[in-house]
Amino acid sequence: MSAFSTTIQLIYVAAASCFVLGLHLMNNPATARRGNQVSTAGMVAAVVATLALIIHSGAITVTGWIVMAAGALVGAGVGLYSARTVQMTAMPQLVSVFNAVGGGAAALVGIHDYMSLADAGRGVPGSITVTTLLDVIIGAVTFSGSIIAAGKLQGLITSAPVTFPGSRAVNLLLAAVTLAGCGYLIATPSLPGLLVVIVAALAFGVSMVMPIGGADMPVVISLLNAFTGTAVAMAGFVIGNWALIIAGALVGASGGILTKLMADAMNRSIGNIIVGGFGTGDTSMAVLPGAGAGVRAIEADDAAIQLAYASKVIIVPGYGLAAAQAQHAVAELADLLESRGVEVSYAIHPVAGRMPGHMNVLLAEANVPYPQLKEMDEINPEFSRTDVALVIGANDVTNPAARRPGTAISGMPILDVDHAKSIIVIKRSMGHGYAGIDNELYANPKTSMYFADAKAALAGLTGAVKTLVG
């Protein structure tokens, strides 16, 4: 190995170390920004080294340069624009889109490699074909799956599970076609065969994500993130580049961990979530006769008095908060209460929102200091010492029915909201949560329902606190 290529390889190793260090620094909010900078530095080093490698090899055509530069500029521009302008409530969609393009790029690397080997008329060794095919398949599945996930999150595609009779059979068929195509391609290299495999994998990505409902999105995004990482690592195998293998494996591990954490927080297996169709919620069955009776409604003034004279308030945000863009309104109410000497904290369920940590980012955007955001295990013992639990747009994660066997959410870890001395639920209607079952919390004598849009309700509460006790 020449001194030049040794240097390039060493830079790749340094870049990979930067990625590990960067992720390590994410262990603490105080060092996380530095982590991102270290990781960025590694990426810049890797890209510069690659440019040097390309110049040094001298094999690139002028057209090659133009194509590469134009592509990179267009992509960088789009990426920069979307990263600068995205609303924090829309983060899950953006992450999903980045998963899609990352997976897509990895698939293209594999496709191109396969094509150039086939062009050269050389026999492709079986072991190389396997990694190339894994790269192409995982990348293609991630690409189409992530686009569907982003569409669901953005509301372009219904977030309800989409199933039809035989949809699982179609899934199995697509998987079988993909696998059979692979078997064929390993035995006989062929471009039309590769095309069949690509199309089948793309279709599989679509049919995999379509039946999965909105509230399962934290799991799906994490899983697609893991897929992208794995696809990139496979692309590293294909082009024999360690930086890609290491970085891809790191992302695969991170996505894998988050997937597991999210699935555990719903007490469902990853397989169960992927099979999908959960939360189709046969609501006509689930609504008990007389549901809604025994529920106490409350107006802004009464709720404001309860909050203003409480000594400890816990706010329980859910997806409804994000959907109503009410993060600033809730922070304003919390600030007002704190200025009156009320102790305010936030209880964050692991799967609240549409991606892991979604609520934390929204509240951080609204200037809520992160030590006020408590994880489930930390906050649950505190509910019994709490005067008012204020539930905003969260449903299933507060349902005490999860503690009993025999319900759709049995065994799911929940926030012990019902242990608080009184509970105020801000909700637009008595509609069901994702699991499609009644929330027993609402019928609790300690609970009052404030029926309104989250943002309007919070503004109303803030106003009422100011005028009544200001």
């Binding site: 990625f19 996380a32 530095r34 890209v47 690659t50 992509g75 998963n99 695969g252």
Partner: protein, 105 residues
């Protein structure tokens, strides 16, 4: 199995374990930035996309190189910028940026 492939596999498996070890300590507060950071890291595929442009010598190859470079660049640039933007918002106290906090503690 060739030695090169075996080496690659060893690196892959060990990196997976490093990843599990490093990431399992990340607190739930940072799960979204973590995912976004991981997202930008898989933008390393840009290196692969750039290398395609070297071996591309026909129109299909150029199209693939262009799309791959665009996808990967979008992934890298967007990922790092949005992660930085998010992390900037995490504060220990109202009005105090985290970075200052880190130096004091």
């Amino acid at each position: 199995m060739s030695t090169a492939l075996l080496t690659d596999l060893v690196i892959f498996v060990l990196s997976l374990w490093v990843g599990f070890e490093v990431i399992s300590k990340v607190p739930a507060t940072l799960h979204t930035p973590l995912m976004s950071a991981a997202n930008s890291i898989h933008g390393i595929v840009l290196v692969g996309a750039m290398l395609i442009a070297v071996t591309a010598h026909n129109p299909i190859g150029y199209v693939i190189a262009f799309v791959a470079a665009a996808f990967a660049a979008m992934n890298v640039v967007g990922g790092y910028v949005v992660t930085g933007r998010m992390l900037k918002m995490f504060r220990r106290r109202p009005g105090t940026a985290v970075a200052d906090d880190g130096k004091r503690s």
